[in-house]
Subunit: 441 residues, 4 copies
């Protein structure tokens, strides 16, 4: 990779998360010397982009690092010749998320941003926009890496891998947080901890824990049984049943609660919604309003601690670690979303998976798993991946039949009449964002 | 196979289905000349066995075929030197089935004999008994074929294949009925019809229909969309949504309604149960009482037409066809349950599957599929097969953890607390039949 | 398949083999009622076509069957609307075969029509012509089956499957002869014998022998050890070493002698060549001259017994059996060349393989193997198949690099300088027939 | 791994290579602080062990590192509680190697230490001794890593993985030398170079070269075409044909010359042998005599430069790098021999392969390949691996049939009579070292 003039384009630069990223770029500047940083957004986000841009400039100024900042609505200019393009977009903004969370609740189902029918709706809206960005990368920066933070990150990565030539890595802050929590549990330095994470984005199991070279997996399972924790800010932190954890033989990720505890999770979400009329999107709106309020304060020259509440902890850590490891050909291990290629032998070769990878200058190289996945993990993983394949097909081609099958086999739906009703509602409420389905009418 | 002195042992010979089998053995006697026929049952079934034995003897006498009939409670005597052992047992009898159907309903879930938590309970009770029978076959008739009609036939076949050396074929009357219905739909002779059935027992798709050498699959899907029919006596005959069938790209089997239409099927079953306190088992008890009443009539010397109501239509057809094709090395194609061995590449090699097989003297040889399974079929098939693997593990070893995971990932349960409650109830209500779990306490 | 007006086009109709085919069509007329039979050839074969056409007409007349015979050089007319197209062509005629056999001998290697460098040269010449025929079938008879008898039949089948949409089956008379010999060895009717043949064309092992339902494989291996026989007219009939056969654990096919006994086979071929200057092609020329002399005799109205010497015994049997089984949707088992599709799991999915298939109206359906191939079979099969993949690539695209690697890894060459020299000579001596390589210069 | 009291047992400690290892242990002492170092040998090697032990002690003394050295013939004492056991044994010593090299030459075949019939004989002698060592490790040091340098390293690794529970890594100095040469060719630091090596021991291709994050594979192939170099001290350094290298699409390893250039390599070896009666073993004997002469000189306190001639350049580098990366959980990438587990999808799961691995405290984790292997690599790799499987079977069980098939399908033999003769001669000349075959007589 070229060692000077490093250029980064951040699509969705007006996001409230951006100060995290700026903070990371400043902290790691010596190892990852960004010369040109483009924050890109669309017209409706102009105000936010202005606020973020100003804050970012103050942060850079305060740091003394020679990063040249640009804010722009010209996406092509930002992408042209970039070394890295990151995306953190939200098609339809928080209002769309709010709808994604509410529609399933009306049908007695979990309404969640990235899982189930909510994540499905988000995928339909998001994938076509990301593919548009990829067309521009193919044209204007064919050697660039796309670092995709946009959710649902696994579905987006699979769509990009199947339908474009862009070198793409899907990224989530869950794995890095998970590792931190395990290191904390054992009170060891992260460097003395090796964990194996296996699965797909937001459905990922920690199947092995090695500390100082000793396999501590069984001990670890005993420790976490019956504990809460190991969750995320945006997910109710229900504790894991001890016997259940033993029977899984691995630590499920925070999002697994939507599957394994779907009854209780539904009650949690629904009770709040019935009582307040609100879902997580509404909370986020309030947090965002507060954050932008803060961001406008001229004396603020660093990311504020309140940002942590936003659910994106370790975001800058994950993104900057990945880019600097590619830049420096580091060869360290990170958990990212990549093409399967046989690593998880029970999933299709071209599926996007989330596993341990060695990060080299040509991107992530997945590491072979230490053993076969047991049936309890395999079965759930396979059916959700089949749902994802169908959803990518639906999102890219506006394929209604694929959409219908996607939701019918999804473990959180599982009924064709329900699937049909959900899709009807999703298509109706998102008509402005789903031209691919209009075309096919 | 030896051409004279053909010996068959029918385990569960006192079943109300037996006259079907006797009828088939008489009809096909010239091609499949049974010399010694043993009907075996256990002490609590002595009365029924007497009635069935007498009827069977009258049927044989009326036919003039030189089949020597024995009724016995000495299972070892029956198995010793047998060429074929068939099983049609019901561990716990209809009372157990009734419990299997009612327990899930109490938790708001489908209660069904072979599917979901009901089928799971039946598998736990049945597999150990079948393995006991297999130990005797290994000792007393190592060259015999086990023709297993006992439900859940797929789970039983997988258990036998994984844990014994017995040559075993699992059999279901659904495929033969399915083919007859398609032949009828097209008004063609069955011999001019070739269909490809793919899946596992009671979760099997018809993926290809060839008539007179022409692939008519698309036409067939159009024809069946929006139709009822293609069901079984024991399954509510809801019609398939036209758009949904198109999106599957194959004809689901009758039992698929429990998955694809789980909401409506639950309502059907639950409404009946709430209104009458009865489930299918209770109806069957009544039918059985009537049948045994009929069977005692000395003037009855053939299977009565009322037997059709029992759900076992084509049973004799399926069982006798299979045995006579093995006996005669026929090389014809039948849909039976066998070890996968790579035929369905997305399932484990040692899984039991239900597919087209060429029947030769050394048993069934699966035929390679005409194409890859699409994700909508693959995903559902994989998760249910993973459930089956775990259930076999639970049934054979009394492995509670496997049981917990089995129900947790089952599409009709899908929640670990629900799974735990169901298992608690199943173990409590079936304690007398589940010694393998007692051992592990 | 349409039940009247059955039309067959025989490409290479002027072949001396054709009377075999005519004989078969007459004998099986009642089950396979050919209405229109086209014998097609090219200008240089006009005389032969005339002789064959006249004889064929006399045979048909004598039989009284209402087959309408056409001889033509208009290939398109022959193919248009055909139900079956068979090919039995020899690009470059026997002179080319003679060169194929002699070039390798000059380098100290086995020179043989279908194996090693000779078969490689034949593939380069033949595949492009067959693909031309396929283009016409795609246009003029898209529903027709191509029954390919043209050697190297496995390579041709793989090329057709990979590069056209034609429904194609590759056919060889070796399997049918092999089965006849085994039936004879055991003095049983072929119908009581089931054998499993596994491999690729001309590299096929008999891995299982079942007689009357009993697995007799071990007994069979003992019987054949140290025997000659099980060969073909065109292959020196060296006997198999007893210990060696035991170590293979299967019966190799006749052509395996070129691999397993390559030293002795080379000496045989080379001694004859050194002493007489002749190879098999020269013998065949003489046999052909005699045959055509015979064919011109007006009193000849049936295939003459001398035809057997030609090496094509059972040819009509194999070809007509296959076509009539497709026509009648017979469902019997035949060994033919088809797309792998996972049957031989250690070979690529899209490789052409030669295995037991059930013949239905939509073509052959491979039967799953009864077990894993042992390493001694697997290793040889894999390297020869890799050679075939490269050869198909070379033949279709005139890819010199693929050609160089094909011969370098071939077990009968195995050296890159030798491969280079051989290819140089083959390209030089076959320049008129290899336009695909000229293009790439 | 325990951070103090690190114990290493070196089986075959009297080898002339040992000073290399001592040198490495001293140089890397700070990162890999060996406390106890056992050099073990057998009675006939007592004199050599004395000389080596004395030199090693002088080297350690000169270094000032607190490594405690033991020389012993009590292997159990050395192994008990060891952290690492390394082996560098030569069963039958150089006389046996000399026979291995000469027997094939007498049959007109390449005679080489690790390849072809020579390597086969070495495997038969060596594997049983290594398995004996493994039994002691299982008993006395079950957590130890076996670092196996003994040739044929791939075959030994496969035998250990299949037949013991020992954690084993097979090691060769070829990959490290290969990487150094490529770094030199491009004049870059090794740290800026990433290469992908794929294959099995001594049959390994460099399929990808990345420099500073740019894929330079095509450029690299152009550069190496027509060059000599990239060889080893013990292999004639014939240059690669430019067109041939292009057609491979990868850099073959030095040992590939025995396959790809088998004719010329045979001539080289045979000419020397005919002229001098000597093979490489005889040269090595002379070098060894000189080395031991040097080693006895009291003033020698470091490894002498003459050791490089011995063919084991980078040996200490490879061995110490591996052990210290395991010890320190480094996570760097090294090319070692491990269980396949699906990395090379065209080889069996349990085959030993040689690929890029991430070295962690629990051993090597293979990295997924960047693409499918092309047929020219796949075919050769598969047939040689099948030979290896059969050879392991032959070596462990004294299975003559496996031995016969192993050599019959080996690309450098390829004829069953030749295989039989070779095995006869090998068994006769090695009778004292092959008790497993005596048992089976």
């Amino acid at each position: 990779m070229k060692k000077d003039g490093l250029k980064i384009a951040v699509i969705g630069g007006g996001s409230s998360y951006t100060p995290e990223l700026i903070d990371g770029l400043i902290r790691y500047y010596d190892e990852f010397p960004v010369a040109e940083l483009y924050l890109v957004d669309i017209e409706p986000g102009a105000d936010k982009l202005k606020i973020i841009g100003d804050l970012a400039q103050r942060m850079i100024d305060a740091s003394g690092k020679p990063i040249k900042l640009h804010t722009t609505m010209d996406r092509r200019e930002a992408i042209r010749g970039a070394d890295f393009v990151t995306t953190q977009i939200r098609v339809g903004m928080l209002d769309a998320r709010s709808r994604d969370e509410k529609i399933p609740l009306l049908f007695g189902l979990i309404g969640q941003e990235t899982t189930g029918a909510g994540g499905f709706a988000k995928a339909l809206r998001t994938i076509p926009v990301i593919l548009d960005i990829c067309r521009e990368i193919e044209e204007l920066a064919p050697d660039a890496f796309l670092i995709n933070f946009t959710n649902p990150a696994g579905l987006v990565t699979e769509a990009v891998n199947k339908h474009t030539k862009v070198k793409s890595v899907g990224l989530c802050n869950l794995p890095i947080g998970n590792k931190m929590q395990i290191a904390e549990l054992y009170d060891v330095d992260q460097r003395d901890l090796y964990i194996e994470m296996v699965g797909i984005n937001h459905l990922n199991w920690t199947t092995k824990v090695v500390i100082d070279g000793k396999d501590q997996t069984q001990d670890f399972l005993t420790k976490i049984a019956g504990r809460s924790g190991f969750s995320m800010k945006n997910i109710p932190d229900l504790e894991w049943d001890a016997e259940f954890i033993t029977s899984v033989g691995a630590l499920p990720c925070a999002y697994h609660r939507y599957y394994y505890m779907k009854e209780e999770m539904f009650r949690e979400l629904n009770t709040t919604f019935q009582e307040t009329g609100k879902t997580r999107a509404d909370d986020v709106k309030e947090v965002e309003a507060e954050l932008f309020e803060l961001y406008t304060q001229p004396e603020l020259v660093s990311k504020p601690p309140q940002l942590e509440k936003r659910g994106g902890a370790y975001y800058s850590e994950a993104a900057v670690q990945l880019m600097k490891s590619i830049y420096n050909d580091s060869g360290d291990i990170q958990v990212v979303n990549v093409r399967n290629g046989g690593v998880i032998s029970c999933l299709p070769e071209d599926a996007a998976i989330e596993v341990n990878c060695v990060i080299k200058s040509d991107g992530p190289h997945p590491i072979v798993l230490s053993g076969e996945l047991p049936p309890q993990i395999r079965g759930l993983l396979q059916v959700v991946k089949a749902y994802e394949e169908l959803t990518v097909q639906a999102a890219v081609f506006g394929d209604y039949h694929a959409a219908l099958q996607a939701l019918t086999i999804h473990p959180l739906v599982g009924d064709e009449q329900l699937a049909k009703s959900l899709i009807g509602e999703i298509l109706a409420q998102n008509a402005a964002y789903l031209p691919q389905f209009a075309k096919n009418d």
